[in-house]
């Protein structure tokens, strides 16, 4: 289903990108396609001027191992870039397998000898609550750093994501003292207890699209359960994980409990996923990299794996829908975070009775979308994360045009500096087109027409992915039918992208294994031990 070329491109997004040079093939495509220039007429972009200076300093650029900021053993560093300009923000220590070994050793010691898993759950929760308070205190610094490194609108970071970070941490802080095993009935005279123990040293590899949120989804439950962690942030966005980890130590986290090793997938990431002393690996990123990680786990010590991978999530607009509302929701379902969401509503299925009106209005909405410097107020869309993603998305836009989809808005880069792309809308998209099958991970909405419920169910499910779906209808029976029929981990009915702390999130099919957030996530970070002993002269069974 996924073309060979694009597999390598997807892989490079998370695990295998070691250079920020363009894929030569992609460069060629851009030259040939001319899609950029052709579609300039659709652009209503805010001019992208000189970048605003982010109101934050970069103070943490080393590896955090055993409570200390240290250089990489090799002394190597790599640049982390400002997506607005492609310029260097800072040089960050580049961890490889030697550093991963050090970090795992520290985590192992902190787990095996304590104090973290040996202290009471209440004490652990108090430290995590303190951490959440510190996040709140440093909300704007974290948000500025996040937006600088990632390119997402500062308002989104400051008002949504950093508050959600402390919220998720508080959620799991509150779980720490409520982790219950069951006392289960035996078939005979025995007493059976089920202990839920921390699993041990956890490796976590997080992506660049929501660096802090993904940090909280991973670190929150792992620490609440009493595990120790080695976390590899994405090489595109290492800065906020280092900052947050520093705050966590300030809150009283013992040394070695959380180690942060910035670095690249093929070196640091592989070392972590294949490490014999790591008991569990959790990964969010591309499906291709997810497969490699599971393979590394299988080949090393059979560590348990959770994967939260890609998606091509359907957003289904039924004929009873208020079209204006549907357009707005479908728009944000796709364009939020520059389209760089694993759960982006990237296949917009619209009922034929409202299709034409929907396309017109979706176009108008996309043309109105404010693209610009993420530090400017009112900006809805910043630059894509890096040149590689930027080129890949432009490649997909070209593929859409070439395959006969109708380009109704956007279709080119925005401005002439950095990695900005115009909000792009395709109509008349067919299921077999590449843009309807592959995860674009950019601001490209693809609108497909359907006739009836059974048809849309079948088409929506005809995807290797199964992460999420949006359903837009006021008909209770339609909503209930779709809710059960869609083979996805999250169904949003008349809403989208609601990712509350208590709501489990994860994928069917090739969108992954396991769930994050909610109670379900605790299961990923706990071992289950059954303890059986006979009872003599029992008074009941």
């Amino acid at each position: 289903m996924v073309g060979q070329r694009l597999v390598s491109s997807l892989l490079s997004r998370c695990l295998y990108a070691s250079h920020r040079t363009l894929n030569p093939l992609m460069r060629q495509e851009r030259k040939l396609g001319l899609a950029t220039r052709i579609s300039q007429r659709f652009s209503t972009l805010t001019a992208i001027e000189d970048p605003v200076t982010p109101p934050v300093e970069v103070n943490y650029t080393k590896l955090l191992i055993n409570g200390q900021f240290v250089d990489a053993a090799s002394g190597k560093t790599f640049p982390t870039l400002d997506p607005r300009t492609g310029e260097v923000i800072a040089h960050v220590a580049e961890g490889d397998s030697v550093d991963i070994d050090c970090a795992v050793k520290a985590a192992r010691k902190a787990f095996d000898e304590g104090p973290w898993p040996k202290m009471t759950a209440y004490e652990r929760s108090r430290i995590l609550f303190k951490f959440a308070d510190l996040i709140d205190e440093h909300n704007d610094e974290l948000a500025a750093l996040e937006s600088w490194d990632n390119g997402k609108p500062f308002e989104q970071s400051a008002k949504e994501e950093v508050p959600l970070l402390s919220r998720v941490i508080r959620y799991y802080a509150g779980w720490a003292d409520k982790i219950h095993g069951l006392i289960v009935p035996g078939d005979g005279a025995r007493h059976v207890q089920v202990l839920r123990e921390p699993i041990g040293v956890v490796g976590q590899i997080v992506p660049w699209n929501f660096p802090l949120l993904m940090f909280s989804w991973k670190v929150g439950p792992a620490l609440a359960c009493g595990n120790t962690v080695v976390l590899k942030p994405a090489e595109q966005t290492p800065l906020t994980a280092l900052y947050a980890a520093k705050l966590l130590h300030e809150a009283g986290l013992p040394d070695g409990v959380l180690n942060v090793v910035a670095g690249f997938g093929p070196t640091a990431g592989s070392a972590l996923a294949g490490h014999m002393e790591v008991d569990k690996i959790a990964f969010t990123g591309s499906t291709g990299a997810g497969k490699i990680i599971q393979e590394l786990a299988a080949k090393s010590n059979l560590k348990s794996v959770t994967l939260e991978l890609g998606g091509k999530s359907p957003f289904i607009v039924m004929d009873d829908a208020d079209v204006d509302q549907a357009v707005e929701l479908a728009h944000s379902a796709l364009f939020h975070n520059q389209g760089q969401c694993c759960c982006a509503g990237s296949r917009t299925f619209v009922h034929e009775r409202v299709y034409d009106e929907f396309v017109e209005k979706a176009k108008a909405r996309a043309l109105k979308r404010v693209v610009g410097d993420p530090f400017k107020q009112g900006v809805e869309q910043g630059p894509q994360i890096d040149e590689e993603q930027f080129s890949k998305i432009l490649g997909y836009i070209k593929s859409g045009i070439d395959s006969g989809a109708t380009l109704v808005a956007g279709g080119a880069r925005a401005g002439n500096k950095g990695f900005y792309i115009q909000p792009t809308v395709f109509s008349d998209v067919k299921d077999e087109m590449t843009i309807a099958q592959e995860e674009i991970f950019g601001p490209v909405q693809t609108i497909l027409k359907f006739k009836n419920l059974n048809e849309v169910i079948q088409r929506a499910n005809a995807s290797p992915y199964g992460l999420a779906a949006g359903v837009f209808t006021n008909n209770l029976n339609t909503a209930n039918t779709l809710m059960r029929a869609l083979r996805v981990g999250t169904v949003w009915i008349n809403c989208y992208n609601l990712l509350d702390a208590a709501i489990p999130f994860g994928g069917y099919k090739m969108s992954g294994i396991g769930r994050e957030k909610g109670m379900d996530s605790l299961n990923s970070y706990l071992q289950v031990k059954a303890v059986i002993t006979p009872i003599e002269n029992h008074s009941w069974l």
Binding site: Y122, G174, D177, L476, N480, M483, A501, I535, S539, W540
Partner: protein, 501 residues
């Protein structure tokens, strides 16, 4: 008996200023509608500390009306569990800032050890509050597996207005044992503290407001059982009543609920909990735990291990050591850090305990130590131990609620189980043994809500607590406690063309 301090009032301790003495209704401190007041006394001296407003039916009506309004139309049940949790965490922070003052209030009002209050009671109350603060966003309904093509799920909804009536022995812990899960669930609450100990409850009301708990969501009405308590339990607009106290009053409350609106009831009542010590137990540990189990908090604790069963192989040795241990308990002013045991809470309790000591002697139990008041002022009683106690004696049957241990010798496990269960109560039990088979067998056989093995009084926010038999029903603490304050609603609707059922 230790010579230092018995029955004397320690000089030099700065009494806390009493700031709150009115009723707390709808976010305001108000006088009773009748203008009446009652005295709350210092059990060390029997002197009046202060007069507080005395609520009766009219005031309870006002408080319930405020709670009803806050529930039916107010923000409390309508905000997210996370927001409620944040406010409750703030509330806990505020209490933490006033630990000393609150421990002192419980000290003068209930005769509780000041140092213990600072180290255990108030931090314990804070811990309870934090537990439920972070439980507020963890209340889950379930989706259901129905027999037909229907989609079903349960909603766990806050039950509504909760009436809380709490005792005087742990004024702070009891307040938060009930109030925290009720508030976390989204209920609104009317609390009647014990008439002996209203002071800390009023302070908590004030801090609740400061933390941002909306007006009407938490109300405190000081008063007496037959007036304020009865008005609350029989109120037609109260949806649940949660009570901790004596079995006699528990029965009255349940009747009152039955004859009014069938409100749901949970009762945490008395106990006559057995401490069962087997031959293989570590003797010193057994002596220490058995003494603490009944003398702690002057025996004024529902889970007191007041019947101590000792296996015959170690009985004589145990008796010798436990007498010595009891004599080492220092009785005196609860504000003196050297003191282990303060005065009984009031004259009524004091006289009741002395009366039971007389019953013990009358019925033929052997008084091994204690048995007398100490000091010439206040309500101090010596740690008292009776041996040769039989299950049919009054001191083995009734809850004395004082520092009186009943010692009983036993031979076999079977006998211990049978005799331990020979009570109308079933609140707790202690087992002292290192034999895993004995521990497992006795844990399952004793009909009590909590079993402590090689420990005692290990209360925990996460460990459900409550009674079998006439010790009550329903559980406080743990996630079980939240269930008391929730309604369960099943929602069912047809489902068409479902790919699975």
């Amino acid at each position: 008996m230790a010579e230092n301090g018995n029955g004397s009032v320690k000089e030099g301790f700065k009494m806390p200023e009493i700031k709150y003495t009115k009723l707390f209704i709808n976010g305001e401190f108000v006088d009773a509608a009748s203008g009446k007041e009652f005295e709350t006394r210092d059990p060390r001296t029997g002197d009046v500390i202060v007069n507080v407003a005395e609520a009766d039916k009219v005031d309870v009506d006002l408080a319930v009306k405020a709670a009803r309004e806050a529930f039916d139309h107010g923000p409390w049940p309508r905000m997210s569990g996370y927001e409620r949790g944040r406010i409750l965490h703030k509330y806990a922070d505020l209490i933490e800032q006033h630990i000393e003052e609150l421990a002192a209030l419980d000290g003068i009002d209930a005769g509780k050890l000041f140092e213990f209050g600072k180290a255990v009671d108030i931090p314990g109350a804070v811990r309870m509050l934090r537990y439920y603060a972070s439980a507020a966003d963890k209340i889950h309904g379930e989706t259901l597996k129905l027999t037909t093509a229907h989609q079903g799920y349960t909603l766990k909804e806050p039950i509504g207005v909760v009436g809380v009536i709490i005792p005087w022995n742990f004024p702070s812990m009891m307040f938060f044992l009930k109030v925290s899960p009720a508030l976390a669930a989204g209920c609104t609450v009317v609390v009647k503290p014990a008439e002996q100990t209203p002071l800390s409850a009023l302070f908590y009301a004030k801090l609740a407001k400061e933390a941002g708990i909306p007006d009407g969501a938490l109300n405190v009405v000081n008063g007496f059982g037959p007036t304020a308590g009865a008005a609350l339990t029989s109120h037609m607009d109260v949806d649940n009543i949660s009570f901790t106290g004596s079995p006699e009053i528990g029965s009255v409350i349940m009747q009152s609920a039955a004859t009014s609106n069938l409100k749901t009831v949970s009762l945490e009542l008395g106990g006559k909990s057995p401490m069962i010590i087997f031959d293989d137990a570590n003797l010193d540990m057994a002596v220490g735990l058995a003494s603490a189990a009944v003398f702690f908090n002057k025996g004024e604790i529902c889970v007191a291990g007041s019947r101590v069963y000792v296996q015959d192989g170690i009985y004589d040795e145990f008796v010798k050591k436990v007498i010595e241990c009891a004599k080492g308990w220092v009785v005196g002013d609860p504000f003196d850090p050297k003191v282990n045991m303060g005065p009984q809470v009031d004259k009524v309790q004091y006289e009741r305990v002395l009366k039971y000591i007389e019953y013990g002697k009358r019925d033929g139990a052997t008084l091994l130590t204690g048995g007398k008041p100490c000091g010439d002022k206040g309500y101090y009683i010596e740690p008292t131990i009776f041996a040769d106690v039989k299950e049919d004696m009054k001191i083995a049957q009734d809850e004395i609620f004082g520092p009186v241990m009943s010692l009983i010798k036993f031979k076999t496990i079977e006998e211990a189980i049978e005799r331990a269960n020979c009570t109308k109560y079933g609140l707790a039990a202690g087992i002292l043994t290192n034999d895993i088979n004995i521990a497992n067998r006795v844990s399952r056989s004793v009909r009590a809500g909590t079993v402590w093995i090689n420990c005692y009084f290990v209360f925990d926010a996460d460990a459900p607590f409550g009674g079998y038999k006439m010790s009550g029903f329903g559980r406080d603490q743990g996630m079980n406690a939240i269930e008391k304050y929730l309604q369960v609603k099943s929602v069912i609707t047809p489902i068409y063309n479902s790919p699975w059922l």
